[in-house]
């Protein structure tokens, strides 16, 4: 066996690490370890000069294992693996110690932080000794794409991809395309018809020979991996199987139901309606109260279910501008009505929206502010002497007064929620949800439409509340990502998979039961389990389940983890 020669690099990350952690001390401590040939500290390891130092060291000193103590491996592990490859070393002969996110950024005491960093680096050194080279595998990319969701986002993605000459399968659960956009009258801030925007898109999609639309369809199962997915879809009771290389998830949003907010008496008072119900009225061209009369006083209440820990903590982002849109539309429809806009904060973000707010505020609309901390506005039925159908009472923040607003119609600007199917789709596609059931992107800034599952992209409101314009931006971005993947033709897949030692495996088949990807099958002839490496995603559950010890979770083997534990705990009783 060749001699183990380890290079260890402690990154300062400017002052991010070095201001709390004594990087020189760590480098000195690590230098004392067996097999460590080089131990350095450097200002920015991820910088070009940092990587070049690493590469030069590997070549000059015949290093065959590298440890970098820096930020989270979730950020720069790929960077350093590439550097190893450049130096001619297998990229898996590498281990990172996270001394930034999980050390210098969260601790205060310099001594403890440094001791912890030493332990983490020792653990990495101890582990890397047992690393084995793994070889990348390349698979061809199926050029078809499945788009889940037939709203404006899904339609846009589908068209972008089909127009580039690639097959698209568009899956829609309901019986029609268009989603929420088809249900709204005008868009903001331009006050253009949403229908005129969505209808041509729907017909383009329906008539495109490269787009197959599946209406009334649900996904039963998705299997496979990036470049080679397959799914069973069920349409009108019959199941069919389709195969494709990439998935765009555009499951969209669901309006929040305000029945759970007692103050608003939605469904109790007939003239308390939601924004989507008003859209229907606006599409029909008449806004009336439940008894068919023209409302003289109309209130619009913002943040219904948004920015409130009890319902949804987040801002639904589109409601303020939508409310302003309603104010404009109502003003034109009912020039003499008194309009009250009861808001918590006016967040008319986005191009043209602040101007839209300014213009709207000149249209004789009374803007009233409430503070959710002081309770929500309360709607009650009015007395006969009130000269209005209902009374809204609340503490108006800017005047500091408890006030009453007489109204005949109340429009609740309901929050947007993740679609109820979001969880199921996340389970099927293997992507993650944030605390609010919206999908988590791979990186909020650097990779906003990709997910942690390769080949699965997210676009539109399933990722978080946003307007039509931003949804379309994401739809096109996701389509571009897919098209670039198709253009590459083939991709490298996860190699840190499970491996069955056929000399030891006795065929108990426990592993087959636990594999979430059906990647393990039973070879009757040899009486052993067999892992399909393309299907395996490397979770390691089979490795920890195998009673015989025949399954090795590559790159997370028993010996690697046990050595890491040993290294982690070797530092006891040491002090600076």
């Amino acid at each position: 066996m060749e001699e183990i020669r380890i290079g260890v690099y402690i990154c300062w990350c400017g002052s991010n690490i070095a201001q709390l952690i004594d990087v020189k001390f760590i480098a000195g401590e690590i230098k004392k370890l067996e097999n460590v040939i080089i131990s350095r500290d450097y200002k920015y390891m991820c910088s070009d000069p940092g990587q070049e130092t690493l590469i030069a060291d590997i070549k000059q000193n015949k290093l065959n294992r590298i440890v970098v103590a820096a930020c989270s491996p979730r950020i720069h592990e790929p960077t350093f693996r590439k550097a190893l490859e450049k130096a001619g070393l297998n990229p898996y002969m590498f281990q990172m110690a996270n001394i930034r996110e999980q050390d210098s950024w969260v601790h205060i005491d310099k001594e403890y932080a440094t001791l912890k960093a030493v332990a983490l680096v020792k653990a990495a050194v101890s582990r890397v000794k047992h690393h084995e080279p793994l070889n990348k595998k390349s698979v061809e990319v199926n050029s078809a794409t499945m788009v889940i969701g037939g709203g404006i986002t899904g339609l846009t993605s589908a068209l972008e991809i089909a127009q580039a000459g690639k097959q698209v399968y568009l899956i829609e659960k309901s019986d029609s395309l268009g989603g929420i956009t088809a249900k709204i009258d005008l868009t903001y801030p331009d006050l253009k018809s949403a229908g005129q925007m969505i209808r041509p898109k729907i017909s383009q999609v329906q008539n495109h020979n490269l787009i197959e639309v599946f209406l009334n369809t649900i996904l039963e199962d998705i299997s496979g991996y990036v470049g080679n997915f397959s799914t069973k879809v069920r349409r009108n009771g019959t199941s069919e199987e389709i195969t494709f290389g990439n998935i765009i998830v555009a499951t969209g949003l669901k309006p929040f139901s305000p029945v759970t907010i007692p103050e608003y008496k939605y469904k109790v008072l007939p003239d308390v309606i939601t924004s989507i119900e008003l859209e229907k009225m606006l599409q029909d061209g008449t806004v009336k109260t439940s008894d068919g009369s023209k409302p003289d006083n109309i209130a619009i209440i913002h943040c219904v279910g948004s920015r409130n820990e009890q319902y949804h903590p987040y801002c639904s982002r589109t409601c303020c501008s939508t409310a302003l849109k309603y104010a404009n539309q109502l003003r034109s429809l009912l020039p003499d009505a008194h309009l009250f806009d009861i808001y918590a904060d006016m967040r008319a973000y986005g191009k043209g929206c602040e101007e839209f707010y300014t213009n709207t505020s000149n249209k004789n609309i009374m803007f009233l502010m409430y503070d959710q901390k002081n309770g929500l506005p309360e709607i009650r039925k009015a007395n006969s002497s009130d000269n209005a159908g209902m009374i809204i009472t609340f503490s108006e923040k800017l005047s500091g007064e408890n006030i009453e607003v007489p109204v005949d119609l109340v429009i609740l600007m309901t929050a947007v929620e993740a679609h109820e199917d979001a969880k199921e789709v996340a389970r099927l596609t293997g992507i993650s949800l944030c605390g609010n059931d919206f999908y988590i992107e791979k990186h909020p800034k650097l990779d906003p439409v990709a997910t942690t599952t390769d080949g699965v992209y997210i676009a539109g409101t399933c990722q978080g509340p946003k307007g039509i314009d931003e949804s379309i931006v994401q739809a096109k971005a996701a389509a571009a990502k897919v098209l670039s993947m198709i253009a590459m033709g083939s991709i490298e897949i996860e190699v840190a998979v499970s491996h069955v030692n056929e000399e030891v495996c006795c065929g108990c088949q426990t592993c087959i039961m636990v594999c979430p990807y059906k990647a393990i099958s039973f070879d009757e002839e040899k009486n052993v389990s067999v892992v399909n490496e393309a299907l395996c995603k490397g979770c390691g559950t089979c490795g920890s389940t195998c009673p015989t010890g025949a399954i090795k979770s590559l790159h997370f083997t028993d010996i690697q983890i046990l050595s890491q534990i040993e290294g982690l705990l070797k530092t006891e009783s040491e002090t600076i």
Binding site: N501, E503, V504, C505, C506, G507, C508, Q509, T510, I512, M513, V514, F522, N527, T541, S544, T545, C546, P547, T548, G549, A550, D558, I559, L562
Partner: protein, 329 residues
């Protein structure tokens, strides 16, 4: 002719053991002649009256093969193990106790003191009002009487001396002994030192006559008396804990053929960092529920996980004894 070859010097010794291993040696029956034809039995307390002093008198490396059975429980076991190591070329840990600690190893759930207290004072059949315990030395007018020191921990042979080969089993299958013995005699190429011999690398399921599937979700763990065994289905799939998949082959399925689940005396296949944890992990995974409360309920049915998964191997485990306050002083 074979006779021309010099005979091998063979020793068999028992440490903390039940004697079953020695009996398994006797079980060679008529093949004993083959053994005797090829070997001189120089030391075998169960059958021969050789004294320790005789062994001490032997030159180093005089014994070609020692089959040491039993764990290291007291100073005598340790002393003789070291003595035999000195006198022996090929040291074989024979049987589960020497291999992994075996049944005596379960004593590691207690301290030495606790065991003495139980055996010499509190056991139902004992009357010992003065609470007299065995002493390592006792002076009488005639001189000094000594007894070996009873250790707090049970250890495996490998934890005390270098072991060349491990021949597992409780007791080892006699056929395996013969195969190994004949291999040594015939000077066949032997596996590297430290290997397990007389057993395969595969788990018991490999040739298990019972039918298996991947359906190993267990809603209820049962004791053998609670199951009407159909004689065909995998024990695990019937809710019986069978150590089979985590135990080497070589025993000849003696238990399983007797319709009893494997108890794991042959020890784990190679590559297991701990003799019981892999099976524990597998059994845990088989619990057929996702609900924390139900899981806890099902797990409760496993009466004695440590004793089940480490029945033959506690001293060889990562946690090789129970943590008892008094042991740290």
């Amino acid at each position: 002719m074979e006779k021309e070859k010099p005979k091998l010097n063979l020793a068999v010794y028992w440490g903390a053991a039940c004697g079953g291993c020695c009996v398994s040696v006797l079980d060679v029956h008529e093949k004993l002649f083959d053994v005797v034809a090829n070997a001189n039995l120089v030391f075998w307390p169960i059958a021969l009256d050789t004294k320790y002093s005789d062994v001490e008198a032997m030159p180093d490396g005089f014994i070609d093969v020692t089959l040491y059975n039993g764990a290291i429980r007291n100073s005598e076991n340790e002393h003789i193990a070291k003595l035999l190591r000195q006198k022996t070329k090929v040291m074989v840990a024979y049987g589960s106790c020497a291999h992994l600690g075996g049944i005596p190893g379960l004593a590691n759930f207690h301290t030495g003191k606790e065991i003495f207290e139980r055996v010499y004072v509190s056991s139902e059949s004992t009357v010992n009002k003065e609470k007299i315990y065995p002493q390592t030395s006792y002076k009488i007018p005639e001189g000094e009487l000594t007894l070996p020191e009873f250790y707090n921990d049970v250890r495996t042979l490998g934890q005390v001396v270098d072991v060349d080969y491990y021949l597992p089993g409780c007791p080892p299958q006699t056929e395996r002994l013969l195969e190994v013995f004949m291999a040594i005699v015939k000077k066949e190429e032997l596996p590297p030192n430290g290997s397990v011999i007389g057993a395969t690398d595969k788990g018991q399921c490999d040739e298990c006559p019972r039918k298996r599937s991947d359906n190993k979700k267990i809603k209820q763990f049962k004791r053998p008396v609670e199951v009407i065994d159909d004689g065909e289905t995998c024990f695990l799939e019937q809710g019986l804990i069978c150590m089979g998949p985590a135990t080497r082959c070589g025993c000849g399925y003696r238990c399983i053929e007797g319709n009893s689940p494997c108890r794991g005396c042959y020890g784990p296949p190679p590559g297991s960092p701990d003799p019981g944890s892999k099976m524990m992990s597998a059994i845990g995974t088989m619990v057929g529920s996702d609900d924390p409360e139900e899981i806890a309920k099902i797990v409760e049915q496993i009466e004695d996980p440590a004793g089940t998964f480490y029945r033959f191997s506690l001293p060889a485990a990562i946690l090789r004894r129970k943590l008892i306050e008094t042991t740290v002083s």
